[in-house]
C-alpha cells in the first residue's frame, strides 16, 4: 500500500517473508538480529570504502615513491649512480592513533604487492627484540621459509622444522642469493637474454620493501645495526624501507645517529589527521538519513569523549557504534521497526499485541496521545489495528523528520562556522550535539550567532547562502525543495540589491533580515530534538551508561563492587536487605570487616572477627567446643583472603606497629 518513492540505494535485502511472519508473532528477536547484522555489514562496508578513499592519496604517493626509487636505481645516469648507496626510505607519519594503523599498513602492503613488487615484509617492534630476531622475521616473511637462528632456546622447534622445510641461514647474503635466484628465474622466460646481460641492467628488478610498523617502539641499536648491514648489500639487493611513525619525524633523528641516517634517503609522507578522519566518518555515517539507526545526544557524547580524551582512534569509535547498534537491537523489542521504510511499514503490521502494548507505554507515544481528541485517545488504547495504522503514519513522519533534519543542520553549520569565535562550534558534530540536546533556537549561542549573521557583509552572506543552496539541491524532500526555491529567490534578490549605509534600512538590509528569518524558520521547524518526535525510541539508542561501562571500563570500581556486594555477580548470595551474607566468599568478608578499621589494622582482631562471622555462617554456636578445632583451616582461609586483598592493593604490610597492616583506601561503611 505504501510503495511511494524511497531512495533506491544498493541495499541487501534477503527477506524470507514467510518464515518471518511466523516467528514475528511469537518473538521478533530473530528478525531483529537479522536487521542488526544487515545494518552492521552495511556500515562496515561503507566505512571501509571511506577509509580506503581517505588513505588513497597518501598510499598513492607512497606507491609512486617506491616506483620512482626502483626505476632510478636502474638508471645509469651520473647522479643516480652517485646516490646508489643510499637506501630509499619513506617516513610515513600516521599520528598517535596506533590502533588505526593496522588497516593502513594492511592496504599498503596489499597495494604494493599488487602493483609494485611481490617482495614486501612488515615487522613490528615487539617481535624484534634483538637483531637476529628482526633478521629472522624479515627473511621469513620475504622468503616464506623457516630461518635458522643459532639459538639454544629454539632447539626443539628447529629440529622438527628441519625435516619439514629446507631451513636457511639467517643472514642477508642468503636473502641476496634467494633474490638473485628469483629474478633469474623470472628472466628465464626469455632464454636468449639469460646470460647476455648482467643482472643490474634487468628492468625486471622489483624492490624489496621492508615496513617497520612502529618505529618508535624499536630498539634503536637493533635498527641501527640492521640498517648498517642492509647498506652493505644495497648494491646487490634493491632494498627499500617504510617507517611507520606515530609521533613526529624528528624521532628518526633521535633514534639514528648521523652515521646511520646518512645511509638513508628519507622522504616524508604525512597522513590525514585523525580528527579530520573522524569528521569524515561522522559525516558519512552519523549525519545521514541513510541509516535508520541513530545515537542520542548522550551516547554520542560518550563516544566523542572517548575519542577526544582517550585514544584518538577512529576504529574504536566505529566499534563503539557497533556496540550501541547491538545493544539497541538486543534490548529494544521495538527496534524491529528500525529499518528501511518499506520493511518498517511491513513490520508494523506484524506487530503482536504485546509489542503494541509496549508502544502504548512509550513516553513519546503517550505525549502524542495526550494531544489527541478523547475519542481518538480511546481508539488508540483499545483498537490494535487502528494503532498499527497510526504507527505507520508516525514512522513515515519520523523518516521525514530525518530527511529534513540533516540538510537544515548542514545549512546552519555553513552559516555559523565562519562566524568569529564559533558560537555554535567549529565542527558540524558539535552543532549536531547541541541540536540533539534541546531546541537549538532557545540556546543563547544561537541568538548571538543570529545577531552576528545579521551583521554579515553582502559577499559573505551570499557566499554562505550559495553553499546552503548547494546543500539543499540534492535533497529529495518536498519541504526542502520548497525551501530551496525560496532560498534561491532570496539569493537573486540579494545579489541585485546594493548595500548602502543609510539611516533607514536599505533594501539589502531588509532582504538580509528576511533571509535570516527564513533560515530561522527552517531551523525552528526542522531542528527540534529527536526526543520530541513520536516513536523516536525505535531508532534512537539512549543508554549512554551501558556504552560507557563497556568501552571505558573502570576495573577499580568493579573490584570494589564485587567485594562489597558479591550478590551482584553471584546470584546465589542474594539477600533481601542487600547486606553481605555470611556465606559470601572469604575475601568479601575480610574486605567488609576491614572497612570498619582505621588506618592501621590489627591482624589478630581481624582474624577473630572473621572467625566469628564464618562460624556463624556454618551454623555453629560460637561458644561450642569444636570452634577451636577448625581454627586452623579458618586461619589459613583468612591468611589467603588477606593476601588477596594485599594483591588487589587494599592493604600493605607496615613496620609502624607489629602485627598490623596499613589500609590503602579511605572510607568505611
Amino acid at each position: 500500500m505504501t510503495t511511494t518513492s524511497v531512495s533506491k540505494g544498493c541495499f541487501v535485502f534477503k527477506p524470507s517473508a514467510k518464515k518471518k511472519k511466523k516467528t514475528l508473532s511469537l518473538d521478533n528477536s530473530e528478525i531483529r538480529f537479522k536487521l542488526c547484522q544487515d545494518l552492521w555489514h552495511k556500515i562496515r562496508a561503507d566505512t571501509e570504502v571511506l577509509q580506503d578513499e581517505l588513505n588513497r592519496k597518501i598510499l598513492d604517493s607512497l606507491l609512486d615513491f617506491t616506483r620512482k626509487c626502483s626505476s632510478t636505481r636502474q638508471h645509469s645516469d651520473w647522479a643516480s649512480q652517485m646516490r646508489a648507496s643510499e637506501i630509499p626510505t619513506a617516513a610515513l607519519v600516521l599520528g598517535v592513533n596506533v590502533p588505526d594503523h593496522d588497516m593502513t599498513f594492511q592496504s599498503l602492503s596489499e597495494l604494493l604487492q599488487q602493483s609494485v613488487t611481490p617482495h614486501v615484509a612488515s615487522v613490528q617492534a615487539k617481535e624484534c627484540g634483538a637483531l637476529k630476531h628482526l633478521m629472522k622475521r624479515v627473511l621469513e616473511r620475504l622468503m616464506d621459509t623457516v630461518v635458522t637462528v643459532d639459538d639454544e632456546e629454539e632447539e626443539e622447534t628447529e629440529q622438527t622444522s628441519t625435516q619439514l622445510h629446507k631451513s636457511v641461514h639467517c643472514s642477508l647474503s642468503t636473502l641476496c642469493d634467494w633474490y638473485n635466484a628469483k629474478t633469474m628465474k623470472s628472466k628465464t622466460g626469455t632464454p636468449g637474454k639469460k646470460r647476455s646481460s648482467p643482472v643490474r641492467d634487468d628492468p625486471q628488478q622489483p624492490p624489496v620493501v621492508i615496513i617497520f610498523k612502529d618505529l618508535e617502539a624499536f630498539n634503536p641499536k637493533v635498527l641501527q645495526d640492521f640498517i648498517l648491514i642492509c647498506s652493505r648489500y644495497v648494491e646487490r639487493l634493491p632494498l627499500m624501507f617504510i617507517f611507520g611513525i606515530a609521533t613526529s619525524p624528528s624521532t628518526i633523528q633521535h633514534m639514528l645517529p648521523h652515521s646511520v641516517s646518512s645511509l638513508l634517503c628519507i622522504e616524508l609522507f604525512q597522513s590525514l589527521s585523525c580528527t579530520q578522519h573522524l569528521a569524515t566518518v561522522i559525516d558519512k555515517l552519523i549525519l545521514t538519513p541513510q541509516f535508520p539507526f541513530k545515537l542520542n545526544g548522550k551516547v554520542m557524547q560518550v563516544l566523542m569523549s572517548i575519542f577526544l580524551y582517550h585514544d584518538f582512534s577512529v576504529r574504536n569509535f566505529i566499534k563503539g557504534v557497533q556496540l550501541a547498534l547491538l545493544e539497541h537491537f538486543h534490548s529494544q523489542p521495538l527496534s524491529v521497526l528500525c529499518c528501511k521504510k518499506k520493511e518498517a511499514l511491513l513490520n508494523v503490521m506484524q506487530l503482536s499485541h504485546h509489542d503494541l502494548e509496549s508502544i502504548r507505554h512509550l513516553l513519546s507515544f503517550r505525549r502524542y496521545v495526550e494531544k489527541q481528541e478523547p475519542q481518538e485517545q480511546l481508539n488508540l488504547f483499545r483498537d490494535d489495528t487502528h494503532l498499527k495504522e497510526v504507527c505507520q503514519k508516525l514512522i513515515k513522519d519520523l523518516r521525514k523528520y530525518h530527511k529534513n533534519y540533516y540538510p537544515v543542520l548542514r545549512c546552519l553549520h555553513t552559516l555559523t562556522s565562519s562566524l568569529p569565535r564559533y558560537p555554535l562550534g567549529k565542527q558540524v558534530r558539535e552543532l549536531h550535539l547541541i541540536c540533539l540536546e534541546k531546541n537549538v533556537w532557545e540556546n543563547e549561542d544561537y541568538q548571538t550567532a543570529m545577531k552576528l549573521l545579521k551583521m554579515l557583509a553582502k559577499d559573505e552572506l551570499i557566499a554562505s547562502l550559495q553553499r546552503c543552496v548547494e546543500i539543499l539541491q540534492p535533497v529529495k524532500s518536498k519541504k526542502m525543495k520548497k525551501a530551496l526555491v525560496e532560498l534561491e529567490e532570496l539569493l537573486t534578490l540579494l545579489e541585485m540589491n546594493e548595500s548602502r549605509r543609510a539611516k533607514k534600512l536599505s533594501p539589502f538590509e531588509v532582504l538580509r533580515n528576511e533571509a535570516l528569518e527564513f533560515i530561522d524558520g527552517l531551523v525552528k521547524s526542522h531542528l527540534s530534538p529527536p526526543e520530541s518526535q513520536t516513536l523516536n525510541e525505535v531508532c534512537y539508542y539512549s543508554s549512554s551508561a551501558t556504552v560507557r561501562r563497556h568501552l571505558n571500563a573502570t576495573p577499580r570500581t568493579s573490584i570494589q563492587a564485587a567485594l562489597s556486594s558479591p550478590y551482584y555477580y553471584l546470584q546465589s548470595l542474594k539477600t533481601e536487605d542487600g547486606t553481605v551474607s555470611n556465606a559470601a566468599p572469604d575475601i568479601c568478608i575480610a574486605y567488609k570487616l576491614h572497612l570498619e578499621c582505621g588506618r592501621l589494622i590489627n591482624l589478630y582482631d581481624w582474624l577473630e572477627a572473621y572467625a566469628t562471622v564464618v562460624s556463624a555462617a556454618e551454623g555453629n554456636n560460637p561458644d561450642s567446643d569444636n570452634v577451636r578445632k577448625v581454627e586452623e583451616v579458618k586461619h589459613a582461609r583468612f591468611i589467603q583472603a588477606v593476601s588477596e586483598l594485599e594483591f588487589l592493593g587494599f592493604i600493605k604490610s607496615t613496620k609502624q606497629k607489629t602485627d598490623h597492616v596499613a589500609r590503602l583506601t579511605w572510607g568505611g561503611c
Binding site: G95, E155, E158, H258, C274, F312, A553, T554
Partner: protein, 445 residues
C-alpha cells in the same frame, strides 16, 4: 707513485692497477704489502688497522686482496649476530660450502678450529690466507676468548693465515685485561684537503671535462672543508649540488672556464645546503626536486626536525604534563603546588639553594606511578574516573617514547617512569590545553 708499490712476488702490472685505484693511500698500501710479504711466505699473524670513518681502510684492503687475487674472507662484525655466522663465512670463502656445513649447531671456537685444521690438512695454503674483519670494535662485546684466539689463529690452526682487524678505535681500547697477543698496528691518517680534492675529482661527470669538475670540487671544499672532512659526506654533497653548478652552463650564460661567475652562482646555494642536507634534514631526492623548483616555492619544504608537533588525546596531554612535573619537581614540593591548603611551608626551607635551577640541568628523575596519577588528578580540571583507558594511555605514551619505563617490565607493583620530552615540547602541549606549566615548575619559581 707506483714506485712505492714495487714488491717481489707480485706482478708489476697488477700493482700498477692497485695503485691507480687507491689515490693518496700508496704509503699505507706499500706498508701493508711489505707486512704481507710474498704470497707464499708466512705473514704476521694479526694486523690491526685503525683510522677515522672514510679513511680508506676497507677500500685499501678490498682492492689489494682482490687485485692481487689473494685468498681472503671479508667479514663485517655488525652482520655476525652470532659467532656461528662468522665461522661459517670464513670457512665458506676458504674451503667452500661443504666445509661450512660441517659446523655443528651453535659452534664453539674449538669446533671452528677443529674443522679449520681438518680442512686445511686436505688443502694446505699455498698462499697466505687473509681474514679481514670490518668494524672490529664489536668483537669486544662478544665472548671474551674470541678476540685473543683470533689474534693468534695462525698458531691455533697451524696454517698460513693472517687476521686483519679494521677499526675506528685505537688498539688500547681493545686490549683485554687478561692480556693477549699484540697485533701489528697500522694507522690510516685522515685525508688532507689536497688529498680530498684529488679523490673527489675522480668521480667526474662523464659529459664534462676533468678540469671543470675539479674546479667545482675546489669550490665545494672551500665551503664545506671547515665543517666536514668526511669523504663520504663530501661526495654526497658534491653529487647533489653539481647539477645546480652546471645550470648557467646549460643556459649558455657562462663558459666552462669562467670559474668566478660559476662560483658566484653556486656559493649561496652551497650555504643553504650546509643547513639542511648535511644533517640529512631533507633527503637527497627532495633536495634535487627542490633545486628544480623555483626559489620561491622551495620555502614549503621543511626538514625532518621542523616537524615536532604531536597531536595527543586530551588526557594523554595531561598525563604527559603530570609526568613532566613529577620528573622535574622534587617530590617534597608537591604539597606546595597541588594542595589547596598546604599550610605553612617555610620559604627558606622550601627553596634550598643548591636544588634551585639545577633540576632541568640534571635531567628527568624517575617517579612512581602513584605520584604521576596523584599529580594528574590534581592538574586535570574536571573529575576523571580511574578507567582502564587512562592506564593504557600511560603505556602507549611509553611506546611512543614520550615516557620511558625505568623499572623492569616484569615489575607490576609500583612501576617507575621518566618523562622523556623537552621543555619546549611540554610548553607547546600545555599551551593547547591552557595550562600554565611554568607556574608549576620548581625551577622557575
Amino acid at each position: 707513485m707506483a714506485a712505492l708499490l714495487q714488491h717481489a712476488g707480485y706482478e708489476e702490472e697488477r700493482l700498477l692497477r692497485v695503485a691507480q685505484q687507491m689515490p693518496c693511500r700508496e704509503v699505507q698500501a706499500g706498508m701493508l704489502l711489505s707486512l704481507m710479504g710474498q704470497p707464499q711466505q708466512y705473514s704476521y699473524p694479526s694486523i690491526f688497522i685503525y683510522g677515522h670513518r672514510a679513511s680508506g681502510k676497507s677500500h685499501v684492503m678490498h682492492v689489494l686482496l682482490k687485485e692481487l687475487e689473494l685468498p681472503h674472507a671479508t667479514v663485517s662484525c655488525v652482520e655476525c649476530v652470532s659467532v656461528a655466522l662468522l665461522f661459517e663465512q670464513v670457512l665458506l670463502s676458504f674451503f667452500g660450502c661443504d666445509a661450512a656445513s660441517l659446523l655443528p649447531r651453535s659452534p664453539s671456537l674449538s669446533d671452528f678450529v677443529r674443522i679449520y685444521r681438518q680442512q686445511c690438512s686436505q688443502s694446505p695454503a699455498k698462499q697466505t690466507r687473509y681474514i679481514v674483519m670490518e668494524k672490529a670494535e664489536l668483537l669486544r662485546d662478544t665472548d671474551a676468548n674470541l678476540l685473543p684466539a683470533l689474534l693468534r689463529l695462525q698458531e691455533l690452526v697451524e696454517d698460513n693465515v693472517t687476521i686483519i682487524l679494521l677499526s675506528e678505535i685505537v688498539w688500547d681500547k681493545f686490549r683485554p685485561n687478561t692480556g693477549c697477543f699484540e697485533p701489528l698496528l697500522l694507522h690510516f691518517p685522515d685525508y688532507s684537503k689536497g688529498e680530498l680534492q684529488q679523490i673527489l675529482s675522480q668521480d667526474r661527470h662523464p659529459s664534462y671535462t676533468a678540469e671543470f669538475y675539479s674546479s667545482y670540487i675546489n669550490i665545494l671544499l672551500g665551503v664545506f672543508y671547515s665543517v666536514c672532512r668526511d669523504l663520504r659526506e663530501l661526495r654526497h654533497l658534491a653529487a647533489l649540488n653539481f647539477s645546480k653548478f652546471c645550470e648557467p652552463l646549460a643556459e649558455g650564460k657562462v663558459k666552462e672556464t669562467d670559474t668566478h661567475k660559476l662560483w658566484r652562482n653556486i656559493e649561496p646555494h652551497l650555504k643553504k645546503a650546509m643547513q639542511t642536507v648535511y644533517l640529512r634534514e631533507v633527503s637527497s631526492l627532495q633536495w634535487e626536486q627542490m633545486q628544480q623548483m623555483e626559489e620561491k616555492e622551495s620555502g614549503a619544504l621543511r626538514g625532518l626536525s621542523a616537524h615536532t608537533h604531536v597531536e595527543l588525546p586530551y588526557y594523554s596531554k595531561f598525563l604527559l604534563i603530570a609526568a613532566y612535573l613529577a620528573s622535574y619537581n622534587p617530590a617534597r614540593t608537591d604539597k606546595r603546588f597541588f594542595l589547596k591548603h598546604h599550610g605553612k611551608i617555610k620559604k627558606t626551607n622550601f627553596l634550598k639553594k643548591n636544588e634551585k635551577t639545577s633540576n632541568h640541568l640534571l635531567g628527568p628523575k624517575p617517579f612512581p606511578l602513584d605520584r604521576l596519577l596523584a599529580i594528574f588528578y590534581s592538574v586535570v580540571d574536571n573529575r576523571v574516573a580511574p578507567t582502564a583507558s587512562i592506564f593504557s594511555q600511560i603505556s602507549s605514551l611509553v611506546t611512543l617514547q614520550l615516557l620511558t619505563q625505568v623499572s623492569h617490565d616484569d615489575q607490576l607493583d609500583a612501576p617507575k617512569y621518566k618523562c622523556a620530552v623537552s621543555m619546549d615540547f611540554i610548553c607547546a602541549i600545555s599551551r593547547t590545553v591552557n595550562f600554565d606549566i611554568v607556574k608549576y615548575l620548581y625551577d622557575f619559581l
